[in-house]
């Protein structure tokens, strides 16, 4: 895997790397992709209609509002103020 590809993937993944870490990541990803490339030897296509989804769409609960977690509990793991999550300023 090329350095440019790893940089591109890290941008998609919202991860940053030092130059040294990038070098290691290129090495690791190259080695991992070697295993993944074995899949290229086989000719298969995915048929979504044949898939076993394991999702029970015919059996959904009534669309009625139910109690949810209280705000203080939802905020207990976050930096918060006035019942809101605190984020850096996003508008000029």
């Amino acid at each position: 895997m090329e350095l440019e590809m790893v940089k591109y993937l890290s941008k998609l993944a919202k991860l940053s790397y030092t130059d040294e870490e990038l070098e290691q990541a290129v090495k690791d990803m190259t080695s991992i992709i070697e295993i993944m490339d074995t899949i290229k030897d086989i000719d298969v296509t995915y048929d979504p209609y044949k898939d076993n989804h394991n999702v029970y769409l015919e059996d959904l609960r009534e669309d009625v509002a139910q109690p949810s977690l209280p705000t203080d509990k939802l905020l207990q793991n976050a930096v918060n103020q006035d019942n809101c999550f605190v984020v850096p300023k996003v508008v000029e």
Binding site: A13, K50, V87
Partner: protein, 481 residues
Amino acid sequence: MTEKTVKQLRELLDRKEISAPELTKEYLKRIETVDKSLESFITVTADKALAAAEKAQERINRGETAPLTGIPLAIKDNICTEGVKTTCASRMLENFVPPYNATVMEKLDAQDAVMLGKTSLDEFAMGGSTQTSAFAKTRNPYDISRVPGGSSGGSAAAVGGDLCAASLGSDTGGSIRQPASFCGVTGIKPTYGRVSRYGLVAFASSFDQIGPIARSAEDCGIILNAISGSDPHDGTSSRNAVPDFNEKIGKGMKGVKIAVVKEFFAEGVDDEVRNSVMAAIDTYKAMGAEIVEASMPSLKYAIAAYYLIASAEASSNLSRYDGIKYGHRSDIVGSYNDLIIASRSEGFGDEVKRRILLGNYALSSGYYDAYYGKAMGLRQKIREEYADIFTKCDLIITPTAPTVAYGVNENIDDPKKMYQADFCTVTVNIASLPAISTPCGYDSKGMPIGMSIVGRMWDEASLIAAADAFEKQFSRIPAKL
């Protein structure tokens, strides 16, 4: 006392030969003395455990006992426990205290089971050694210079080392079965959908399943009875009726057809492991089972298919960690985007980052069809191959892992080698099937060897019965810690 099975402890508690608080204290004492070297727990909840044990004893005194009332259990630290830190062994969730319980915890609480604490794992359950844990790099109770396996290494080591009566783990590609095998205990990965995933921190949602690790197949059945069932919080939890998973125990192996799939015994499997599993198959034959040969041609592609799909799902699931709603928040001051990037880069460890990159690669434009699409096609093909094999047999027996537990410093820097070691377990998750691993022998150095019994969807009871039949004639050698 701490080496007894859940079934034995139930009898002792019900006969009042020991009280629930006394039993909990026995385990807490054992944890206190042994876990410094084993490092199976990330958090020990001693006070809560004693309070739960008191409550359990009141229930026992009232004669309203459930199968797990007063039984001390350990819980993998990726299962949400209200008010108790759930770290996923990651800096990202170092201080995360869930505001709710996983459904399995609600079900254990309903029986007044006792939680001793939260056990270590590979970070976000990604690994097979528990050495990527940010907090407790668990060791093997049979030899503390070796790994316990993973990712449920803490849960398996705690059972193998007699630090709990049984535990819960989770299995995405072998994470219950492989550590159970390495630590000489029994673990079952239920059929996908059997146990609610609500409150299990998501890794790969189409594979993840919670299951028990215990000292016997029967104990696994007792716990599976408690945690299974439909859950409105999990749209993938099955509406199928939950049977008594121990109902087939004692019915014998006569006439049961067991398939030996040759590819699982091929190159890469250690001779001692192969011989031990083959000897176990001979034992089943002697019990009256019929052995048939079978083949799974796609097994050689299974590792690629598994890692592509699991990493794709992980990259999506782990995008929720932004440093804002919960989880590690960087001190670096900058834009909204800078905060997210810094929080994620500081919070995640190397292996988690590798999986996220791989998942993004598999899903990215220009590569999607070649990797993710093909992996999903292979998933269907592997399911078809299993369906074909199950037209000829009732059960399949394979080694659980190609080797016994290895040294703590081996394989760690070689992700490729680590991934390839999973080839015995991943197809079960790919095909949503249930499988149980139970000890079938020990190598020349005394390290446990495990075999896996794989069954049809929803047929956990047959796996438990078959594992139980073997266990009844097998002399388990406990770890000497």
